[in-house]
């Protein structure tokens, strides 16, 4: 029988991880209260943290929108010049079918482009960190490629590929690809040297080391890159549509502007913003689900 020398757990009573966390964060709390009350206190304070985190920006936005509404009404500004926020909301509601149809087109372009960017970006990052020759030859070119304003390629792509889905997906992928490559390369290189030594001493092959150490330690950086990439993906897709398209929010934007349907232009802009927020949130949620350990490390 080996008796555990640590006194954290006493046999019989169910030792919980929660106790350890509390013992580390606040000793007096853990010793004076029982575990259940302490964890209740923790969830309470996180709810209050959420409140103070979102309360201020929501108040600020509400204030700005109110001033906008009041100023437009007092001035009697015509809607084609500047519609009131309530009119914009109304337009979103009445045009909801139209907006959704075009949003689906844009969303498809963004998702496909982003997917291509993630796959290509991660593969390139792996090749760059795996081979010094490719690193020296390719990495400077990838960085230099960012001096090319990628949306400016849209007209060319239009000439070559027409008005369909492909040119938008390509622009989106080109825009989103860079932050993913750079962040993933950084992540792969940040792997702890001693962990690699440990795996070598255990007899791990190069591929096993890559799988067990390099990939997991690059994931947080990859997600950082993906969050940036998904936000600018929307810009890429819309730019592709502005240049020439048959559908999509960017197309609707151009058409509505030409017809001086300013409330609808605002409605499209709001939809684009919501699309960006939605996609960013999805990536952030995926990050939380796939990297549950980060919650304990980053705090």
């Amino acid at each position: 029988m080996t008796s555990p020398p640590e006194t954290i757990s006493s046999p019989g009573s169910e030792p919980s991880v929660q106790h350890v966390i509390e013992a580390r964060s606040d000793r007096s709390l853990a010793s004076s209260q029982d575990g259940a009350r302490a964890s209740e206190a923790v969830s309470w304070s996180s709810a209050r943290q959420m409140g103070s985190r979102w309360g201020a920006p929501i108040l600020l936005a509400a204030g700005a929108i109110s001033i906008w509404e009041i100023a437009v009404r007092l001035n009697a500004t015509p809607p084609w010049l500047l519609p009131t926020p309530t009119l914009i909301a109304e337009t979103i509601w009445t045009d909801r079918a139209l907006l959704l149809d075009h949003a689906v087109v844009t969303l498809t372009e963004v998702l496909l482009g982003f997917l291509v960017a993630v796959v290509a970006g991660v593969l390139l990052a792996a090749v760059i960190t795996g081979s010094p020759v490719i690193d020296r030859a390719l990495y400077p070119l990838i960085i230099a490629s960012q001096t090319v304003p990628i949306p400016a390629l849209s007209p060319l792509l239009l000439i070559w590929l027409g008005y369909g889905l492909a040119p938008k997906v390509i622009v989106t992928a080109l825009v989103a690809f860079f932050p993913i490559v750079v962040n993933t390369v950084d992540g792969l290189r940040s792997t702890d040297r001693e962990i690699i030594d440990l795996l070598r001493s255990l007899g791990a092959s190069r591929w096993t080391r890559f799988r067990l150490a390099h990939i997991p330690s690059a994931l947080p950086s990859l997600f950082t890159g993906a969050k940036v990439a998904v936000a600018i993906s929307v810009i890429g897709a819309v730019f592709g549509e502005l240049v020439g398209a048959k559908a999509g929010l960017g197309y609707l934007l151009v058409r509505s502007t030409a017809q001086f349907q300013t409330p609808r232009v605002f409605a499209v802009v709001v939809m684009l913003a919501l699309l960006g927020i939605l996609l960013f949130s999805l990536v952030a949620i995926a990050e939380r689900l796939l990297l549950p350990w980060r919650r304990f490390v980053t705090r």
Partner: protein, 281 residues
């Protein structure tokens, strides 16, 4: 808890590739001959180890002590196969092996616990098995069976960041034991712990070792730890590290804490402190 020993060899599927049990019983498990190693620092070539020779038999516990810079860690890196020496040979089970071929033949543990922050305690222990190609699920099952013996079952699903220093070190030791090699290379495994936890962990590791032995090479700069745990203590000089003294510890096993005040313990300590040049001989 006592049903399975913590250090017994793994199923033949893994142990077979390591070939840890079928060595010639005549030759020592580890033999180091005339090892010399140097490194470049600031444009200067510095000798870390000079002409080191010793052997380590199976079921033997040997400690290496020496001041900082005596090349103790370099010695373990070389034996584990992480770096190649300038000259000299390392034999495992009677066979001279290149550094490359020594990889995966020992269970090496450094002072830092080196737990992967994205893996739970259980998955960190299982890493030793996965590293040599065992599928994740199988490794997890094998590791879970042993976690009990390490007093870690209750913490199996905790992440390293949630564990205390002592617990983390214990997970690292569990991982090391699961490497299922007869040869354990421990580089100041208790060095980062507070004094009390450290004493507890020494006894705990000795308990585990008593059950299934294996050969241990422990690097430490703690003379008491070396005497308390080892059968033999090797003393290295400051850089370049040379073997300048070997002290055979005559204390019986199993070792108990009370022995640290034993006159024999004190005599060993005097000899070792003198060898280190810390007291007049």
């Amino acid at each position: 808890m006592g049903r399975s020993s913590a250090l017994d060899p793994l199923p033949s599927t893994i142990a077979g590739t390591v070939d840890s049990t079928s060595h010639d019983s005549q030759s020592p498990l580890l033999e180091v001959r005339r090892l010399t190693s140097s490194y470049i620092d600031g444009g200067m070539r510095l000798t870390a180890l000079a002409d080191i020779s010793f052997t380590l038999n199976d079921e033997e516990f040997v400690a290496v002590i020496g001041p900082s810079g005596s090349g103790k860690s370099t010695l373990l890196d070389i034996i584990a196969g992480l770096i190649a020496p300038d000259s000299g040979t390392v034999s495992l089970a009677g066979e001279v092996l290149t550094a490359e071929r020594r990889l995966g033949r020992s269970a090496y543990m450094r002072q830092r616990d080196l737990l992967l922050p994205w893996r739970t305690a259980l998955d960190n222990a299982a890493l030793a098995l996965e590293a040599r190609g065992m599928p994740r699920r199988q490794a997890r099952v094998a590791a879970a069976e042993r976690l009990d013996a390490f007093g870690l079952s209750a913490f199996a699903h905790a992440y390293p960041a949630q564990l205390s220093g002592g617990m983390r070190q214990r997970v690292a030791l569990a991982r090391t034991a699961l490497a299922a090699n007869r040869l354990f290379l421990l580089d100041e495994p208790f060095g980062a712990l507070d004094a009390l936890t450290r004493i507890e962990m020494q006894s705990w590791w000795l308990d585990l070792w008593e059950r299934d032995r294996g050969a241990v090479l422990l690097v430490t700069h703690d003379v008491d730890e070396a005497i308390f745990m080892a059968d033999r203590v090797l003393v290295l000089t400051p850089r370049p590290g040379r073997l300048c003294w070997t002290e055979s510890i005559a204390l019986p096993r199993p070792r108990t804490r009370a022995m640290v005040t034993d006159p024999l313990f004190i005599a060993h300590k005097e000899a070792l402190l003198a060898a280190l040049g810390l007291i007049a001989s």
